[in-house]
Symmetry: C2
Subunit: 345 residues, 2 copies
């Protein structure tokens, strides 16, 4: 046991910020957290497996960043402010330099969000990280997947499709991009996603429903639509020519660009809905959060939900700027990402 504890103590011990709602941090049987009065505690957990969610030779600092970022992104998608996180880590061997780099990447992002490491577990095993995050949000203002309403606009933050393009290059599915700055951009978007915490906080009381793009725009929006019992029209013209698509993606052949944008995943941008009457408030919130947002569609009546998770019913209609059905070029992938159907390492 002492070996395990030494390991944790050396790399992961971390001073707990005093202002964060953390009553008791790392080192006891449990951490104790106290959300501010009127706040609920928001929590989410994700597991990242080597060869599945990242390549075994990934830069450990980038891995540390991403493992926490994807969880913070879930807090952003609820409008929650980060308080703390725990890390459960299985390691095939103890590699001091590797662990130190993992810790650097993770704790730098944690510090930027006032998020304290309050516990965890370290064991021998195939390289696996499981992060749990804790945040606080006024429960009435949390963005629930079931809260999209007919007449809402559909918005997306930042750019979508970049991470999928970065992955395609990394996997050798296509050659590196000709422009070095584009190549660096898509690689960074894949490896060091930005959780949209500031935007989530700014949208409290304005947005209805939100989700982060982890599996793809259509797939993730589909979860919101299913939970809300509605459908959506996505304006491909607004999406492709607006700022929601990076020039590196727009420069791809159309079917490939659409596949990245609609089904790419791993961008950790927010897709959210809010009433059409509140467009200027959304823009002001986005400006305050220094996060670009693009209006890409609208919520329409749709099939009643049979299940709060995606229920397989078609709920997303692609249209052009005039509202006509958009002719998707052959070879475009629209769907999500099936962890089991695509299992390979």
């Amino acid at each position: 046991m002492s070996g395990e504890f030494d390991l944790i103590a050396r790399h992961w011990w971390h001073t707990v910020p005093s202002s964060s709602g953390v009553v008791l941090g790392n080192g006891d049987d449990c951490a104790l957290l106290a959300p501010a009065p009127g706040m609920a505690l928001a929590t989410s957990t994700d597991m990242l497996v080597a060869g599945r969610h990242f390549l075994p030779d990934v830069d450990p600092e980038a891995l540390g960043h991403k493992a926490l970022a994807v969880n913070l992104s879930d807090l952003a998608a609820m409008g929650a402010r980060p308080l703390a996180f725990t890390l459960a880590l299985a390691l095939p061997r103890v590699d001091e330099a590797w662990l130190a780099a993992l810790a650097r990447g993770m704790l730098a992002l944690a510090d930027a969000h006032g998020c304290a490491l309050v516990g965890g577990d370290t064991t021998a095993g195939p390289l696996t990280l499981s992060v749990t995050v804790y945040g606080e949000v006024p429960p009435a203002q949390a963005f629930r997947r079931s809260a999209a309403r007919v007449g809402d606009d559909v918005w997306v933050s930042g750019t979508v499709g970049d991470a999928r393009l970065g992955l395609a290059v990394l996997l050798g599915e296509r050659p590196p991009l000709a422009r070095a700055d584009w190549q660096a951009h898509v690689r960074a978007r894949l490896e060091r996603p930005t959780p949209r915490i500031a935007l989530g906080l700014a949208l409290r009381g304005i947005a209805h429903a939100a989700i982060d793009v982890s599996d793809g725009l259509v797939a993730d929006l589909g979860h919101v639509l299913a939970a809300s019992g509605v459908a959506a029209e996505i304006d491909i013209d607004a999406l492709l020519v607006g700022q929601a698509v990076h020039p590196a993606v727009r420069a791809l052949p159309l079917a490939e660009a659409l596949s990245c944008v609609l089904a790419g995943g791993d961008d950790y941008e927010l897709v959210f809905t809010s009433p059409a009457a509140r467009r200027s408030e959304v823009q002001a919130a986005a400006a305050a959060a220094q996060t670009p947002v693009t209006r890409i569609g609208r919520i329409m009546p749709g099939p009643v939900a049979t299940h709060p998770l995606a229920d397989g019913r078609p709920r997303v209609r692609l249209c052009d700027a005039q509202g006509r059905p958009y002719p998707v070029p052959p070879g475009t992938r629209l769907g999500g990402f099936d962890h089991f159907a695509t299992m390979s390492a």
Copy 2:
């Protein structure tokens, strides 16, 4: 994605008890929890890896029980009441019957403690479970490792050493026990530990420090002693002849019995300290919780802690009923369990 969600939905979807402090359960980006007024949220996370913490051919129902039990045990060791848990699960393949059994074992224990499954993650990968539990406790009454005081008694609940004996048989280190009831007992203690939630709740306001026995009595007590900057005398006579050691363990050769009792681990009993003046209250609390407890020693002055985790300084002195040093027979193991030193699968 749909495959993954179908999987989760079919096996893990679970009705959230209304009384549990769960504002929003499974199916959104985050769960929302609301501890009762005056309560802090207690949380802990553990990772279990196949071939490391359990044999790959383990009964999945027992595995489900144990994966949650070891986490609930951390809540018990803080005096916290369970509210909810999340499960992150990596699976090498989708095996419906196996998953259904895992869910049965886990949810039966969860229901017994009013603990709702509020989220999680499922992915392809080497079989790994990471459970995070959430409970509530008045922060001033939480049992902190740093709270043991000179003059406190040391107590242990239930029996210790059983699980290690069960493991020895399972690993073929020794033949099955001659008595079938003893064999069944040690196997059950290994595979279906009882989190001492009721005892933890009953000891609120009475006990000072507590920890659960996951790595071994001496090792885990050592964490309390190091965090508190104290030492302890353990009365081996009180331990061995009292009800804290099961007859199956007591029947072993002395060095082996002592190894199981002092270093065995995996029993998930509580070791706790409380003032000598409150012995009758401890006994009454244990009776109310229907959990046997045994007084096995006392807290003594000891080296100041250099680190809140175990710091390697000798802090446990073994003595007999008259307080004389106890002559430990050759071959007795006292220490904990080093995950890396003993790594094998």
